[in-house]
Every structure is written in C-alpha cells, then in structure tokens.
C-alpha cells in the first residue's frame, strides 16, 4: 500500500466510525434527553402524559403524606403553581418540606398525578438545585443570596 492509499484507508475508517457516532448521538439526543419544567411551565403548557420530564421546585409545606408501605405523596411548587407527585422508594436524606428538589418521571395518562421514579435533593444544606433557583428567581420568590 502506498502512503496515499494508507492515508485514504485511515481517513475512510475514521469518517466511518465518526459517522456512526454522529448518528448515534443525534438519535440519542432526540430520544433520550429529558427536559426540565417548573410547575408554572406545566400550567402554561401541559406536557403529554408519558413523556419523561424533570420537574423542579420546592416541596410544598404540609404536603408530604406517607401512604401505605413505601409510597409517598407530596407536592412540588414554585409558589405560583403546584404539581402533585407520587413516588415509591426512599427519599433522599435532605428531602423535607420547604426544600428545593428535582423529580424525574412522567404524568399518568388517567389523572394529573405525576409519577416520579427519581427524586434528587441536594448534597449540602446550603445548596439549591440550579434549575430550581433559576425558576424561583423567575417567579420573583428567590430568597437566597444573589449569585
């Protein structure tokens, strides 16, 4: 093989692998990403049931109710609007009423209940998920330090 042919082979192989990777990435970006919404976003523009989303806000006061067994119900609010959440599993250590959380899951088709399979709270008591902080600022109810 001449140097030129060799170079061509390397470039062809490279373009091939890269092409496959680009296709995979485009496909995955279309199918596998999850959008973040605040309760107000959802009130303004409802999300199709079954579509996975992330929902962030504060855990509404007096909303946490332990049901039978391991299911917990609570509400996430950005003070303007509120979404009811149901979750089965163990809540994060720093989950409590009035704290910022992000939940991931989808709305049930039959009612407005949001079924979460993941609840993320912070790792630190002074930390607020950035998405939640931003959406609270938009609502004008941000009380933390100005960043």
């Amino acid at each position: 093989m001449t140097r030129k042919q060799k170079r061509l082979a390397v470039i062809a192989g490279g373009v091939g692998v890269l092409g496959v990777a680009v296709l995979l990435v485009l496909f995955a970006l279309q199918e596998q990403i999850v959008y973040f919404h605040s309760p107000t976003d959802i009130a303004e523009k409802p999300v199709n049931p079954g579509t996975r989303i992330r929902l962030g806000g504060l855990v509404a006061e007096n909303s946490v109710a332990r049901g039978q067994g391991t299911t917990v119900e609570f509400a996430v609010t950005d003070t303007a609007n509120t979404v009811e959440i149901t979750y089965t599993g163990i809540l994060p250590d720093l989950f409590r009423e009035g704290q910022g959380v992000v939940v991931e899951g989808a709305f049930r088709p039959d009612n407005a209940l949001f079924v979460a399979d993941t609840v993320l709270a912070k790792h630190d008591e002074t930390y607020m998920p950035k998405e939640v902080a931003d959406s609270l600022k938009k609502q004008g109810v941000w009380q933390g330090n100005e960043e």
Binding site: R3, K6, V17
Partner: protein
C-alpha cells in the same frame, strides 16, 4: 503567623513561576545554557514554596485555627483528625491548592529526572509548566485565597459536609489530581516540541512514562471515586454519567488513546502529529474538567461554592491555553516530519483503530456533557442528558473496540498476519463462547446480551493470557523453556497483559451487576424478613448510637442462607451535630465477589421502617478490574526500557562488556 507565611510562600511561588515562564524560553532561543538551567532550579523552588503554603494550610486545619475563614467554613474542633487533614482539600480553595501542589510536584519531578533530556526541550517544557502554574496561582491568589483571615475569630467551625467525612476524601482527590494534572507534562512536552519544531521517537520515549504514571493514577482515582459514591451516597449505583464523572472520564479516555499512540511513535516514528495533538487534547480535557467542576456551572457534590468570577477566570485560563495550544499546533504541525510506513493489518494499524474508537467515544461523552450547557446558553431550555444517552452512544462504540483488543498485542509491527493471529486466539474464543453458553444455562432466563457481555470480558482475559503465552513461546518450546522465557519477558509485556486483563474483569463486573442485580424497596418491622438474591434478611430493629460528631440510628439485619444465619449487616441514618445534616450510611456485606447492599429509609406512621435492599452479584469485579489495570500501569512503569538513560542498545553493550571480562 504560619498562615501569613503560607500566603507569602504562594506569592513567592507565583514570582518564581513567572521567572520560570520567560527566561528559559529566551535561553532556548539564544542557546544560552545559563538561562535554560534556571528552569529546573525554579521548578524545584516553586515546588517547595507551594508545599510550604500547603503545610501552612494543613497546620491551620490540624490546630483548628478558626481565624482562617477557610478552616472556619469547613472544619470543626470535634472532627476526627483524619478528616481535619483531608478536609484541607474538601473545599474549593484547598482543592485548588492541592491541584497546584501536584502541578509543581510534576514540574519538580521533570527537573529531577530529566537529566538526560535535551537542554532546550527540558527548558521549554518546564517553562510551559510554569505558564500553567502561574495562571492557576493567579487564580488562587485573586479569587480563591485559602489564607483569608476572619476578625474576630469564631469559636467553633461550621464543620465539613458530612458526605465528605470519609476516608474516600483522603484518597480520591489526590489520586485523581495526580492523573488529571499529570497529563500537564505531556501537554508541556508537546508544546515544547512544537516551539522547537522538532520531534522524534526519543520524544515519545520521554513522554510515555509520564503518560503512564498519570494514567495509572487517574485510573485508580476514578475507580476510587466510583466506589466512594457507591457506598457513601446510598443509591447503590457505581457510575451515574454525571457531568462531573465525565469530566474525569474524558481525560482518561483521551489519555488511554495517548498511551497507545505514543507507543507507535516510540517504536515506529509514525503518528507524530496525531500524538502531539492527543497530548494537547488530553490535558485540555483535564482543564475543561477543572472548569466544569470548579466553576459552578454544574450542580453537583463537587461544586463547593459558586462564585461567577471564578468561573469566568477558569474559563479565561481554558480559552488561552487550549486556544493557544491549538493555534501553535496549526502553525507548526506541518513542520513535523512524518515517519514509518505500515500496513493497515499490523500492530500500528490496531493501535490506530484503538485511537479511532477511543477518541470518538471521548467525543460522544463530550457532546453529552456539554450539550445541556450549550443548549441552555443558546435557547434557555433546560435539559438533562442521563445514562440512556451514554448507554446508546458510548456503549456501541466500546463493543468493536473490546472485541479487537486481544488482536492488537499479537499482531506484528509493520505488517501483521490476521489469520495467524486469529488461529492463536481460537482457544480464547472457545472459552468465551462456552462461558456465554454456561451463563445462559445456569442463570436461567439470562438475557442473551448479558451472556455475550460476560463472554466479552472472558475474551479480554483469555486474550491477554494468550498474548503472554505466545510471547513465552507456547507451542514452540517445552514448558521449562517457556517458564524461563516467561520470567524474562519485559515488564511492559506484563503491563499490557494486566491492563487488558483488568479491563476484562471490570467488563464482567459491569455486565453482571447491570443484568443480574435485584433491588427491592419495602417496609419492615422488627422481626420482619425479606429475601434478596439467595439470602434472607431479618430486621433486628433500630438502635441509637453516638459517634464523635454525630448521632445515629442503626438498623441491624441478620443475613441467612438456607435457614442458617452467617452474618449481620448494619445500615444507619446519621445526623451530624454541627450542620444538623442527615446522611444514610449504607450497610454493605461482601460475599465472595458479590455484595448485599442495604439502605435505611424513613420510618412509616405504623412503626415500620422503609428499607431498600440490593443484591449485586459480582459487583466488586468492577473495582478489582481497575486495580489490576493500575497494577499493570505500575508494572509497565518499571520496565527498564522506559528508564531513559538505560536504552536497550547500551544494555547489550554492557552485557557484551561483561562477557569480555
């Protein structure tokens, strides 16, 4: 007093770094040996100055000097001593100081071990190291000074985030930084070569041990971080494709590629431009990682405190260094002469394939990590790119790469014989296929993909063993000769085999735990029982306990198999007194290579406790594999061919001289 001394030492280190940034370069242009000789002296000096600063901060932590703001914010007088020391880097300022300490440590090592480097290359490389050092010293002194005093001094500190109060903090960041920052040496050598306009196989021989050392530390650091997250966060996962994990994983992927391409360059003088580019890319990804983690653009456990000026400052450093390096590369790359021809089917060809897949995989991780940030900046919509994205993009790219790994070391340089190599791998392929069948047979209902995944791990392990066997002359000589030859194999052959074998072990662990782990969430009352995998857990109830700086409720579970109790496992919910912060301590019981993982949840109104139990078969293989990989790196580091100054030729001469006597 020691605090001011530390601060002063940092300022002095900056001054020394500035001198080291400029004078050696002028020296190399003017061929002035005196100016060039400044570089190693300056490198060693700035190492000791930064070390002094680091010791000063450590002393403030050990003595709980709360007049120092950094200590007040992150320490507590009741904190156990080990966490007082590791707490030094458990915060933004301290971790940046550790970053710089390791950077200047590497510069000092180059100064110390680089006795036989060409003077100009050494001077320029150390000057580039000093540019990085100076940039980050400016960063620390201007935006993240750990020596800020408080007046009046508070009586008690605010304690370290309880999640960080773990032996993991003592090990994970230093190891990770040794890897991350260690790649700066490859970067500096690449820039120095570009300045010089000359590069040859000797360059690769100097760069390879540094790459190998950094890679080994990074491998161990990432694995340690993964295990730490696994047992500390109580979520039972070992890798989350979190942007912060990706930040350390990208330099690892690029560094792995660099390790392999430098091999081609060293042996065959080919792939020069590519290797230089990879060296730049690898450290650029380290810088990008530092930016992502330290600037606060991401929300994670690693983002200690967010301050926009810091983000902008690191972004500035990032743009200047990466932009500058790529511009220099674009200007100078053409002047580097190409070498060595090779056929596509050859060791070189296999290593090019390795590089192709590894860099493409790095790219997909990069896209997945940066896309949400870019999208938010451009359109304002917030998205999260999670594991499904990476499983779909990174996963398929790894399959052909892993399949090809055993072929690589068996192929000859220049022109290889694929058929002959395939024949040598028949045994390995056979064992792998039998494993796949065995998995399907014994784990009834096992997904076919899982069986194939485990077979892939076995294929990697058998492939490495095959490589060693053939190098020792299997099939051509009798066993005794083989054993002699085996013992005489170069260390780097063992290093390669161990690294690939470790990869196989990790693959088995990953596949097994992904396919066969079971999870259940349930409420349990005292005396209640639940089944996980082949084991039965009986809840023995909650019991209060007090630690040095926390109180906890321990939940004990008796574990039995076939009605016979053989162990207990304890999980706890802790409250750290100083921050009133609750944490969950997972209970982990290691049974052979597998683990039973128990996490306590809240108490339910009817007096039960929510419990989450995972059965994770073969999970420890994931980390055992990475340990084997790191050991491979260390073994390879001790190859005498890598010890510059004792090249093969002179060894032969020495042997000949011995015989003559």
């Amino acid at each position: 007093m020691i605090v001011e001394l530390g601060h002063y030492a940092l300022v002095m280190a900056l001054a020394v770094a500035l001198i080291q940034s400029v004078l050696p370069v002028i020296g190399s242009i003017r061929q002035d040996a005196g100016l060039m000789a400044l570089a190693p002296a300056a490198a060693v000096t700035s190492f000791f100055l930064v070390l002094l600063a680091f010791i000063a901060l450590t002393v403030s932590y050990v003595t709980s000097d709360f007049s120092v703001q950094n200590v007040w914010e992150n320490s507590h007088s009741l904190k156990p001593m080990i966490y007082k020391i590791s707490g030094v880097w458990g915060n933004h300022e301290g971790s940046m100081l550790l970053w710089i300490l390791i950077l200047v440590f590497f510069s000092a090592l180059v100064a110390f071990f680089g006795g036989n480097l060409p003077a100009a290359l050494k001077a320029n490389a150390l000057a580039v190291q000093a540019w990085i050092t100076a940039a980050f010293l400016f960063f620390v002194l201007l935006t993240s000074n750990p020596f800020q005093r408080l007046n009046p001094a508070p009586i008690e500190g605010r304690d370290l985030n309880p999640i960080l109060q773990d032996v993991g903090l003592a090990i994970h960041p230093p190891l990770l930084y040794l890897g991350y920052v260690g790649f700066s040496i490859c970067f500096s050598f690449a820039i120095a070569a570009l300045i010089d306009g000359r590069i040859d196989a000797a360059w690769a021989r100097w760069v390879r041990p540094w790459t190998l050392a950094a890679w080994t530390a990074l491998t161990a650091g990432i694995a340690m971080g993964s295990y730490w997250a696994y047992y500390e966060l109580g979520w039972g996962g070992w890798w989350f494709w979190d942007p912060v994990e990706n930040a350390s994983f990208m330099p690892w992927l690029a560094g792995t590629a660099l390790l392999h391409s430098a091999l081609v360059m060293e042996k065959r003088e080919a792939l020069k431009i590519w290797t230089v580019l990879l060296a730049i890319i690898t450290f650029s990804l380290s810088l990008l990682g530092t930016f992502l983690v330290r600037s606060g653009v991401l929300t994670s456990v690693h983002a200690f405190a967010t301050d926009p000026t810091r983000g902008v400052f690191i972004l500035g450093i990032l743009v200047v260094f990466i932009g500058g390096a790529f511009s220099l590369f674009a200007l100078r790359a053409q002047s580097l002469k190409q070498g060595g021809l090779f056929a596509p089917i050859s060791r070189e060809g296999a290593l090019v394939l390795n590089n192709l897949f590894l860099t493409t995989a790095t790219l997909t991780v990069l896209v997945g990590t940066l896309y949400p940030l870019v999208l938010e900046a451009v359109t304002g919509s917030k998205i999260s790119v999670g594991p499904p994205f990476f499983n779909l993009t990174f996963g398929p790219l790894m399959v052909p790469l892993l399949l090809a790994v055993p072929f690589g070391p068996l192929l000859a340089w220049k022109r290889g014989d694929l058929l002959a190599v395939s024949q040598r791998l028949y045994a390995a392929a056979g064992v792998s296929l039998l494993t796949a069948l065995a998995v399907v047979y014994f784990a009834t209902g096992a997904p076919v993909l899982a069986a194939l995944g485990i077979a892939m791990g076995v294929w990697l392990i058998c492939g490495s063993l095959t490589d060693l066997a053939y190098r020792a002359g299997a099939g051509r000589v009798d066993l005794q000769v083989m054993w002699q030859r085996f013992k005489g194999l170069p260390r780097s052959a063992f290093g390669t085999a161990l690294a690939h074998l470790g990869l196989g072990v990790s693959v088995i662990g990953i596949v097994a735990v992904t396919a066969f782990s079971t999870e259940l969430v349930t409420t349990m009352k005292q005396g209640g029982q639940t089944v996980s995998g082949p084991y039965t857990l009986v809840f023995e109830g909650l019991r209060p306990n007090t630690g040095p700086n926390y109180t906890e409720l321990q939940g004990r579970f008796a574990v039995s198999r076939d009605g016979e109790q053989f162990a207990t496992v304890t999980s706890a919910k802790r409250i750290y007194t100083a921050r009133r912060m609750p944490t969950t301590e997972a209970g982990i019981l290691t049974i052979g290579p597998s683990q039973l993982y128990v996490s306590l949840g809240d108490e339910t109104p009817d007096g039960g406790t929510v419990v989450r139990v995972w059965w994770k078969p073969w999970v420890t293989f994931i980390w055992i594999g990475t340990i084997i990989m790191s050991v491979g790196g260390i073994v390879s580091l001790f190859d005498r061919r890598l010890r510059v100054g004792a090249p093969a030729a002179s060894r032969k001469r020495a042997a000949a001289a011995e015989q003559a006597i």
